[in-house]
């Protein structure tokens, strides 16, 4: 069988295809050889997770340390049970705390972990007991409006609040 120029062109064509797929996986999708064995699971119960989604990042001091792997509603306590897959290389103390934060005003929500002072570290499957829930914008505005309304009514009632305030 003779080699022809068509073979060369088809070879180049297939090579371009393979190179494109490699570029897409490495540069665009940022494929890193990271399997499930390199993470361990922690759970945390939140009163309200806001818009947290599975696969949302878990960050500590702004550094990505893991991802949210599962979100369920606890049927007994009616709290959201969030499972976090944390990289094996990061260990957190028993009294570490988890909170749900938002990147920017309209950005995605992520879980922030803050290290505590306990020398014992959290083992795989442990629960993070110190949690604070997501800030829900509607509730925040609601609280602000109530405070604002109370303040307004106090001011209008002929400085009653002003007189009592210094005495306290």
């Amino acid at each position: 069988m003779k080699r022809s120029t068509i073979d060369l062109w088809v070879g180049i064509f297939v090579a371009i295809g393979i190179a494109s797929v490699i570029f897409l996986s490495l540069k665009v999708a940022n494929l890193t050889p990271q399997s499930n064995e390199q993470t361990y699971a922690l759970t945390a119960d939140f009163d309200n997770i806001g818009g947290l989604k599975v696969k949302a990042p878990v960050k500590s001091a702004g550094v990505l340390v893991g991802r949210v792997s599962n979100i369920q509603l606890d049927a007994k306590t009616y709290q959201a049970k969030v499972t976090l897959a944390i990289n094996k290389q990061y260990q957190f103390s028993k009294d570490a705390s988890a909170e749900i934060l938002t990147a920017g005003i309209l950005g995605e929500q992520y879980v922030g972990l803050t290290e505590g002072g306990d020398p014992d570290t959290l083992q795989p499957g442990d629960k993070i007991s110190l949690t604070s829930s997501a800030m829900v914008l509607e509730q925040l505005i609601g609280k602000f409006m109530t405070n604002f309304a109370e303040k307004g009514s106090n001011d209008s009632s002929s400085g009653h609040a002003d007189k009592t305030a210094p005495q306290q």
């Binding site: 069988m1 062109w9 064509f13 295809g17």
Partner: protein, 261 residues
């Protein structure tokens, strides 16, 4: 009187029966291609030759259109995103829209009109000039010799072209976003990498393009094989290839997207 009243219904029934008939024939045709493709893959030279005509010669149109689609995405995306103060997400927007939808769909539409129509015209003309019958006389199976190599060439070429289209589109978005508008290159790539997932975006896009490749090439070779062996028959078969392919690509895209994402 009865005839004039009944003729539209007769026509409708004829069209329906014809469509179902062709659908059944196309399915049997796919079976025959798969059955005889062993022979054509044994003589790989024939398939490679068709990959050259279907794939390599489509490189220019894919590269140029990919680049322009990426540049348009960059411009439009920047205009809209900067309104919400999130122009940083441009990289993610360009990459996700290309990988998930635009890359496979547009590459398949271009492939259908560039290579699919050529396949239909070639096979249809072979039929019109009785070359297929001549092969049969020489005990050469035209499905194994003519149709199967073209089918496999299309199935191989389509994912390659779609992947190249995506790469060129991302490059076009980079040209507009980073080089022309002046966004930060690091943010552009890191936003893209944070939001693109290998399995759900890259692999699913490739699966889409493979499915489109099978559909488009099957339609092209089937329309050619089924064409009325006259000049006008070949011409209308070529038109049908492009129209049917476009509709099938868009419909399949909807179905696949509903399943995947």
């Amino acid at each position: 009187m009865f005839n004039t009243l009944a003729s539209p219904f007769r026509k409708l029934g004829e069209l329906t029966i014809n469509a179902v008939w062709r659908l059944g024939f196309a399915t049997r045709f796919l079976g025959a291609i798969l059955m005889y493709s062993g022979q054509s893959l044994m003589r790989l030279q024939m398939t490679i030759r068709e990959v050259y005509f279907a794939g390599v010669l489509s490189l220019i149109i894919i590269v140029v259109s990919g680049l322009f689609v990426g540049m348009v995405l960059g411009l439009q995306g920047y205009n809209t995103l900067s309104r919400f103060g999130s122009a940083d997400a441009l990289g993610a927007l360009v990459a996700l829209s290309l990988l998930r939808e635009l890359g496979p769909v547009l590459a398949a539409l271009l492939f259908a009109s560039r290579s699919g129509s050529a396949m239909t015209a070639e096979i249809g003309l072979m039929k019109a000039t009785e070359q297929l019958d001549a092969m049969r006389v020489m005990a050469v199976n035209p499905i194994a010799r003519v149709v199967a190599p073209r089918f496999w060439a299309g199935v191989i070429s389509m994912p390659v072209l779609a992947a190249l289209f995506n790469v060129m589109g991302v490059f076009g978005g980079y040209l507009i976003g980073v080089v022309m508008i002046g966004l930060d290159a690091g943010t552009f790539w890191s936003q893209m990498q944070a939001n693109v997932d290998l399995h759900s975006d890259v692999i699913n896009g490739l699966i889409k393009s493979l499915v489109f490749g099978i559909a488009v090439t099957l339609i092209a070779v089937f329309e050619g094989y089924d064409a009325t062996p006259t000049a006008s028959g070949v011409s209308s078969a070529t038109t049908r290839t492009v129209v049917t392919s476009a509709l099938v690509i868009l419909a399949l895209d909807f179905v696949l997207t509903a399943f995947m994402f």
